[in-house]
Each structure stands twice: as structure tokens, then as C-alpha cells.
């Protein structure tokens, strides 16, 4: 059963959380695709360093440890159109060159300050391709990080089963923003 194997692979990739319901026998290759390798290993490593620079480990895990780079790779491969995929790949490929110009080392070998400065420079670049590349990776990093199991479970305390809706509760003091 090829599709069941594909499903098991898939289940493994998201932490073995998907069980196999009877319904799964109706799955086809249309609905289940095995993970495609979209980036080369070195590109993937570079992306991991990039997301870790954007959201680093502190007293809690950073984006790399939460596999946000894997998530980004999957999203770009499966959900984005060709031009965006090209922007993404070219942006990654240019990163080491830019790093060498900026601090004479590959991106991965730069220290936090150097890597941060380079990405900040990208965010302010006048070259649309650089700016687009950075904002795409940053946006996906934030999304992947905030929707990761670790963050939703331990930090933002997502309630899967609230069990209620209370319409009017006082705002907890520390979360109030100043009215405009």
C-alpha cells in the first residue's frame, strides 16, 4: 500500500501525531505527497542559520531548533508560485557572497552581530529582490515559529478546547495597549 507508506512517512515527519483512520484508505497521491527535497543540503543549512538569526535561542529554543527552516522549505515548495520560489532560491544563493563582502566569512561563520547586521541590511535594501527575499523568509519564520508545537503549547498557551466563550471579561492589565 504505497499511499499508506507515504502517510506513515508523513506522520513521522510531523512527530508521529497522525494516526491512521479507516478513512486513510481513501487517500490518493493527490492528497498525500511525500516531502519533496526543495533545497540542497547546503541551502537548507543556510536557511537554518538565517531563521536562527531572525529568532534565536534565548532561554527558550530558537527557530532552528523548532525546525522552522523545514517548515519554510515545505511552504515555499508547495504553496508559492515559481517567481517567489526563484526569489527565495536566488536570495539564499546570494547570502554567502554578501556575507563575504560584509565580514569576509560565509554567513554561517559570522557572529550574531554580523549576521544580524547583514539581514538588517537586506531588509533595508533598495534591491527589490533582496528586500522581498528577506521579508518572505522573515514572515515565514514568524509564522512557523508562532505556530510551532513548542510555542503554542508552552509559550502562548493555545487552548484547543476552550469549552466556553465569555463575552465580557476585564482586560488583564499588562496586555492593554494605550488607546490611540
Amino acid at each position: 500500500m504505497e499511499r499508506r507508506n507515504a502517510l506513515k512517512t508523513l506522520a513521522g515527519s510531523v512527530g508521529g501525531l497522525i494516526s491512521l483512520p479507516a478513512w486513510a484508505s481513501g487517500w490518493t497521491t493527490e492528497t498525500v505527497r511525500s516531502a519533496r527535497q526543495f533545497l540542497s543540503l547546503s541551502q537548507a543549512d543556510l536557511l537554518a542559520d538565517m531563521v536562527e538569526t531572525i529568532i534565536p535561542a534565548t532561554d527558550t529554543p530558537g527557530a532552528k531548533a523548532l525546525n522552522v527552516h523545514q517548515f519554510i522549505q515545505k511552504m515555499v515548495a508547495d504553496c508559492y508560485d515559481k517567481p517567489a520560489q526563484e526569489t527565495f532560491r536566488k536570495g539564499l544563493d546570494s547570502l554567502d557572497g554578501l556575507a563575504r563582502t560584509a565580514f569576509n566569512k560565509p554567513f554561517a561563520d559570522g557572529d550574531v552581530t554580523q549576521r544580524t547586521a547583514l539581514l538588517t541590511q537586506l531588509s533595508q535594501s533598495t534591491e527589490p529582490a533582496q528586500k522581498d527575499f528577506y521579508s518572505m523568509v522573515k514572515g515565514l519564520t514568524i509564522r512557523g515559529y508562532m505556530s510551532s508545537e513548542y510555542v503554542m503549547t508552552n509559550l502562548t498557551k493555545y487552548q484547543f478546547i476552550p469549552g466556553h466563550y465569555y463575552g465580557c471579561v476585564p482586560v488583564p492589565a499588562k496586555t492593554v495597549s494605550q488607546p490611540k
Binding site: 492528497t31 534565536p56 522573515k138 476552550p162 471579561v169 476585564p170 482586560v171 488607546p179 490611540k180
Partner: protein, 589 residues
Amino acid sequence: MGQPAVDCKLKIEYRKLIQMSYLNIHAQALNTYDAIVIGSGISGGWAAKELTGKGLRTLVLERGRDVRHITDYPTGNSQPWEFEHRNQLTKEVRDANPIISKCYAFYEGTEHFFVKDAEHPYVQEKPFDWIRGYQVGGKSLMWARQTQRWSDFDFDGPARDGFAVDWPIRYADLAPWYSYVERFAGISGNKDGLATLPDGEFLPPHEWNCVEKHFQQKVAGRYKDRHVIMGRAAHITQPQPIHYQQGRAQCQHRTICERGCPFGGYFSSNSSTIPWAAKTGKMTLRPNSVVHSIIYDEKKSRATGVRVVDTQTKQMTEYYARIIFLNAAALNSNLVLLNSTSNRFPNGLGNDSGVLGKYAAFHNYRAGVSGEYDGNMDSTTDGRRPNSPYIPRFRNVQKQEMGFLRGYAAGFSAGRGSRADQSGIGADLKANLLNPKLGGWYVGSHMMGETIPKETNYVALDSSLKDPFGIPQLKISIVYDDNDEKMVKDYQEQMTEMFTEAGFKNIRLRDDHRNPGLDIHEMGGVRMGRDPKTSMLNKWNQLHAVKNVFLTDGACMTSTSTQNPSLTYMAMTARSVDYAVKAMKKGLV
């Protein structure tokens, strides 16, 4: 196993002989039931429950696969991070399915419950987004669960305003049946005492938030005839014994209903009527069964059964019954009748009048109004709510007074979101992301406009194109008209006025010009009426011309009014089955 092979062969030959001589009569007996229900969605599920509950051996035909409650909700308990694309549709899915991808409820977690574009092709003579769910339970799995009753202001519409034909029923005919289905399904709501939206058998209503309450009071203060109420919704807010007997529990406010609810917190055929019917031992459920047509026997002047194409084997089989309930969903019920031709009915079963397929209509969901509110900043909400407030129709209610016919209802809700500062990079960004600030209140509304059924809005069979089962494709020709345009404008103006009255700011108007169909409230084509010359069904949802065929889904709707229609289909179905079984016992059908 222990027998010699030759013995086995002999047995098979002998069986073949028997089969040859008795095949027809045997198959006929084997394939004969008291009743056949075509479709297992919201109305078909009710037909199955009522028919089996009255002791009839009932065959329920469903064109899609089986979906059993709980076991077949593959994403019913999936956490957000378990979706590899975080519920976003892939480019491949979007590119292959431009139509279904427009549906708000179609996402990574629900893809398996919607019909993909290529699965069942149709002809868009005019642009129409046909949103379908082919499985046991049909669209009752993914529906929006709003359950408002009709009133006589709605049933009186066509006769008073001179369009379509007069409804052959009034509120009094349906009221006890509304109560009957509400008690079983579990409908939450408040008894608001409005003539325009009669109260029902309600479980406790959902809560309001402060800004919604504020809006309600402001609207009540300015307009005598406009009311903002909590939507009546098919959610079990306080389970009764009848719900526990169905194995259903209290709604847990997860608001991922469209993936199937393991708690049975909202009503669906899968959680409620189908298992209830199965428990009687009288139901045979046959998934993967596309009904090709209804068989009409000219000698007996009645329908004798249906022709079914098995979607797996592509083989056609006939099934027989004394009565047939057609609940294939509005447009597919039209399709079945149109394709059921005979010498007696060359233009479709029961179509003496020539109106079959015509006078189709829908709900106009094109427009929305949104805004912001800077009051009530000291309060917020906690938890989630699978429902929202509702504004019943207030235009042209007592009499015709606007430059357009009929009117619109509206949904309304307010909420407050958190936003994090996403500028910066590194540890600062991370800290900001984890310390979002509560933003101001946003408010939003959308319209649900009544569209006027017209002969020129129709469905018909395409003369050459066939679907994968050899059945003619449905050709759909349904458009907005000038009345709809006027109503969009009036809705936007009136909602702006009400928002302004409530002190809402930054009011924005939307008209997305969506295609008809995306409302998923397509209706008509097999309308009810008093006169067989101008309608298809009588007051019992019975074909005027073929007394043992009943139709109680959206196709029967003479007009659409503004309420979400499913509750009305449920009530009509229970009422119609009650009549059909009594009539059967008296030998009338």
C-alpha cells in the same frame, strides 16, 4: 477448502443455472425496500431517520464515500501545528481547483470533505461556483450551522409581491415540525419574541460581547423595527437526554466544526440522524451510489425505483421501493429529475408544467461592512464562539416600501485581536512576538439577500457533455439582477448608518462580486406550488404528477427569503415523511 476443486466448480455451475432462471425475480426481491432516500445530507438524513423510525425498510443512497461519526474525521482532533502547511492550500490544490478553492471552509484540514473541480464537471453557462460535499452526511458536516425559522412574512412574499408562485404552505403548517426537529437536533438561541423570526425550542443562547451588546442597544434605540439578536445555531449548549441518547455531548467551542466534531457538539447527519436511523435496524446505507434516474412505470403510473451507478465498479443496478425521497441537494435533485425521462415524462420526471429546472435562486452574500470601535477598551473576550449575532430582515416586511423587492438579513460580530510588534530581528523580535498587545475592537457584518426566482435563472442538462458516470452534465445559468444590485447598495448604506449610530469608526464597504453559488444556498428548480400547471411539488413536497416521489431539499424552495435554509429543509422533511407514511398506509401512494 477441504473440498475437491471439481466439486467447487460444479457448485458454481449449478449456482449459475439457478441465477439464470431466477435472476430477475431474485434480484428484484433482493433490491426492494419500502422506501428509498436519495442523498444523506441534512435533509436526506432526516428522511432516513423518520422513515426508519416509522418502521419502513429504507435504502439510503449516497453518491460519495462513507463517513462515520468520529472515526472518519481525520483532522477532527488535529492541532494547528500538525498541518504541514498550517492549513494553507497548496499551489497544486489551488491550481487544480479554482472553484472549490474560493470556498471559505475549504482548507488543508477540510480538503477531503469537498468535491474537487474535476470530480463532477458541470457547464457554467453563466459563472456559478457550485460547492459540493459528496460523502455520507453531505454538506451537513461542513455547514455554517445557522438555524433561523421562516415566518409568514417570508411565506407570503411571492403572493404579496407578485413573483414566482404562492407557497402552498404557511408558517402554521411548519411550526410544529420546526419544534420537532429543533428538539432533536439541538438548537441554541434566545426567545426574542420577533414576528419576523419566530422563536423555537431553544437550548441556552451563546454569549454576547460588550461591543455587540452596545450595538444591539444603539440599534434598538434608533429603530423600532430593527433587531440585533444572537444567531440561532445548531450547537448543543446544554445537552438534553435526547442528545445523550444520540451519543452527542456539549459543544466545546473549538470552532473547527467543518472538520467533523468528535463531541457531536453541532448537528450533522453523521453525528445524529444517520446513526439514529441505523439503530432501528431498518436502514441499508449504500455509499458510492450515484443515482442516474428514477424509474417510472407507465402502466402503474408511479415511480418504481431508481437506477444507481456504483462509483467503484461503474455498474448500473436498479433498486425498488414504494416511495422515494429525493434529497440529493438542490441542483443534483434537479439533475436526477431532468435525467429521469420516459414516454410519459420526456422532459423530466413530473415535469408536465415545463418549470423543472427553472426559477432557481440563491442568497446574495456579496456585500460586507466593517469598522473599528474605540470604546469598551477595558473589556475583552475569553474563549471562542461558533456563532454570532444576527439581524433579521427589516426591509419591506409589513409592506412594499423600497425601490427593490424583498430584503436582506445580516450577520454581525465584534471581536478584539492581539498584535505583536514584528519589526526588528533577533532576541528583541522574539520577545515582542511573545508579548502581543491587545488591539482595539473590530466589527464586521455581511448581508444575506433574498434573490427573486426567475424563469431565466435555470439549470438544464447539457445536450452532449457527460460526467464520469455517463450522466449528462448540468448546465447552470443563474445570475444577479438589478434588484440584487439595489439591495447591495441599501444594505451598505443602512449598515453604515447603524455602525455610525453605534460610534464605529473607519467604516469600510465591501462588494466582492462573488459568483452565485459561493453562498452555498442555491435553491429552487423543483418548486412547490398549488397549481400543477406552474409548479412541480404540492404542499406535501410530493410531485404533483408522481405521487410516490417526494423532494424535501433546497430544490423545493418556491422563494428563498433571507434565512439560512437548512432548518426549513429538516422541518419540511419530517412533515413530508409523516404525510407520506400515513398516505402509504391508506393506500394513497
